[in-house]
């Protein structure tokens, strides 16, 4: 599309070529010299050394200076190439990637969620990388890009898939037992196909101005849209809810109305929601009145809106359940969730083997206290989801019941 944009692949491959080239020459030279000397000056031919020269200043200076020049060349190209990887071309499509034990999920500006990274071929894509638990690393070998996903730190990569096709995504930072299974793909579509996919259902929430603003101002870096707890309180169900806040050290309870929301954005230190750090920057002077209204409108809509993707299904993706459990009956790190409801399972409880039926109570229990009943034949490695709010647990259980 944009002819100025050299792909990351080409940039990096040139540096590889340069360094490998010099290295190969040096290596060949050294090996050849070594072999030649060993043969030529063998003790059988030369019972005594024919020289006892132990230094030669000129020679030593030469072989210090030449490598110095060569490595400076390598440094230069290495750095220049790195800059190209860091500087995102303008107009890149932004996708948010979230790594968690042990899956990736991708979120688009219109709220669309996916476990594969769909991109339009020929257009630069910027991937913002996040992690919810431990370190991961977002790696696409085909495009020579990689960046760690660090909890509490946002970073990015960009790339440009020139040809439509499917490219592997790996997790490259060790993250536990299913590290090697934390893989996904880039699906590069033609721009037209991409547009179709992007506009197609199921769009989670109506993509609109308000949500775009939340992304632009970085709100969703700290506030979730789905009820999960991040640095700041979630936006889900925010409008009209009651809030326990600390105002100048005084506890009080407020309703999240327009006035409250505006104040929280412009001068967040005024009322601090209980249980959260006073970490939010003040947007006074950075946001226009119009944009502010737009966001408030969005909050209002959100409170009333119905999701097309059920909450349970969203959670399955967001919480990374699909990283270890398939929904199609295949065996993965953990047992498949297809038909899990009502199934007879053999478990180990307190060291004793039992067979029980997977009823609602059992499903709930497995989320909150996965180690209590360990399904036979699987390692006891499932993290607990006890920290999820109750309604989300219920939503998950409801959703599991539908997976027949």
């Amino acid at each position: 599309m944009n002819p100025q944009i050299v792909s990351t692949t080409e940039t990096v491959d040139f540096v590889f070529f340069f360094i490998f080239g010099i290295s190969a020459i040096m290596l060949l030279g050294i090996t050849a010299a070594m072999v030649y000397f060993v043969v030529r000056y063998n003790r059988k031919r030369h019972p005594h050394p024919t020289s006892d020269k132990a230094s030669n200043l000129t020679l030593e200076v030469v072989w210090t200076v030449i490598p110095s020049i060569l490595v400076m060349g390598m440094f230069y190209y290495g750095w220049a190439g790195y800059l190209a990887l860091r500087n995102v071309p303008e107009g890149a499509l932004v996708v948010k990637a979230t790594g968690r034990m042990w899956s990736w999920s991708f979120e688009y500006a219109n709220g669309k969620l996916s476990d594969k990274l769909y991109v339009p071929a020929g257009q630069p894509v910027k991937v913002d990388i996040h992690s919810t638990d431990v370190l991961h690393s977002f790696y696409i070998p085909a495009f020579r890009v990689k960046r760690d996903a660090v909890p509490g730190l946002e970073s990015h990569v960009w790339f440009n898939a020139e040809q439509p096709g499917s490219y592997d995504i790996f997790c490259a930072e060790y993250c536990g037992v299913a590290h090697a299974a934390m893989i996904s793909t880039v699906e590069a579509l033609t721009p037209h196909e991409f547009e179709e996919w992007y506009r197609g259902e199921p769009a989670a929430a109506e993509a609109d101005e308000g949500e775009a603003l939340l992304t632009r101002f970085g709100c969703i870096g700290c506030h979730s849209l789905d009820g999960s707890k991040k640095v700041g309180p979630t936006f889900q169900g925010l409008f009209g809810s009651s809030r326990e806040v600390l105002s100048a050290g005084q506890k009080r309870t407020l309703t999240a109305d327009e006035e409250y929301l505006k104040r929280s954005i412009l001068e967040p230190a005024a009322d601090i929601v209980e249980g959260f750090p006073p970490a939010m920057p003040a947007y006074q002077g950075q946001i226009s009145e119009f944009e502010l209204e737009e966001i408030i409108e969005y909050f209002k809509r959100m409170a009333g809106a119905k999701k097309t993707q059920s909450l349970g299904e969203q959670l399955m993706l967001r919480q990374g359940c699909v990283g270890c459990h398939s929904t199609d009956g295949s065996k993965s790190v953990g047992p498949t969730l297809k038909g899990v409801f009502g199934r007879q399972v053999k478990v180990l409880r307190d060291g004793k083997e039992l067979t029980i039926e997977a009823d609602e109570q059992y499903l709930r229990q497995s989320l909150i206290q996965p180690q209590a009943d360990q399904v036979q034949g699987y390692p006891p490695i499932m993290p607990t989801f006890g920290a999820l709010p109750e309604e989300e647990i219920e939503a998950l259980v409801e959703y599991l019941k539908t997976l027949q």
Partner: protein, 199 residues
């Protein structure tokens, strides 16, 4: 005691090398301190305000004085004054104990106020403050451990001096234990302003 010959300069050099490793051991914590102070200047000031300057200052005096006592004890021994050496060493060991008692009260007060690693109260504070207290406990804890080791070392030397095994002609054990004790003091010279005085 199989060594026939003793190399005093060598022994002292070895001790200094060991002190360097101790310095670098604390160095790791000072790196973290520097970085987090840079990141959370306000939180550090706020959290540092919770520490009791009086405790810190008193302990500084105690350690400085104990350092003086060890230093003088070496002179005393070199001059052949064993009694004075013993008295000065006793002063040092007593200082170590006072320091620890002081520290005990200081820590208990903090813990009483719910300020200890992983405490519910700490979790509610701003992130920078929690980091400050984390570092505070680790650093002063490690330092306290060194006070204990140093005190024990000096107590051992005390016995050696009293029994005459360490004397005016052979006092490298005293000198090296003294060096160790000064290191404990040195570290505190930095801990005190960095944790108690950042206001």
């Amino acid at each position: 005691m199989s060594e026939v010959h003793k190399d005093y300069a060598g022994a002292k050099f070895g001790m200094w090398l060991f002190l360097f490793t101790e310095l670098l051991l604390f160095g790791g914590l000072f790196i973290l301190y520097g970085v987090y102070l840079h990141r959370y200047p306000e939180e550090f000031v706020k959290a540092g305000g919770e520490l009791n300057v009086v405790f810190g200052a008193v302990n500084t005096l105690v350690l400085l004085t104990s350092s003086l006592a060890v230093a003088m004890s070496i002179t005393a021994l070199q001059k052949g004054n064993r009694r004075l050496t013993l008295v000065l060493l006793a002063v040092t060991i007593a200082s170590a104990l006072i320091f620890l008692v002081n520290k005990y009260f200081e820590w208990s007060a903090k813990i009483h106020h719910g300020l200890y690693p992983d405490s519910p109260h700490l979790k509610e504070l701003a992130p920078g403050e929690s980091v400050f207290f984390g570092l505070y406990y680790v650093t002063t804890g490690l330092h306290g451990l060194h006070v204990v080791i140093g005190g024990a070392l000096l107590a051992w030397v005390f016995v050696q001096v009293r029994s005459g095994r360490v004397h005016a002609e052979d006092f490298v054990a005293l000198e090296n234990s003294g060096l160790y004790w000064h290191l404990v003091d040195l570290i505190w010279i930095f801990i005190f302003p960095l944790y108690y005085l950042i206001l």
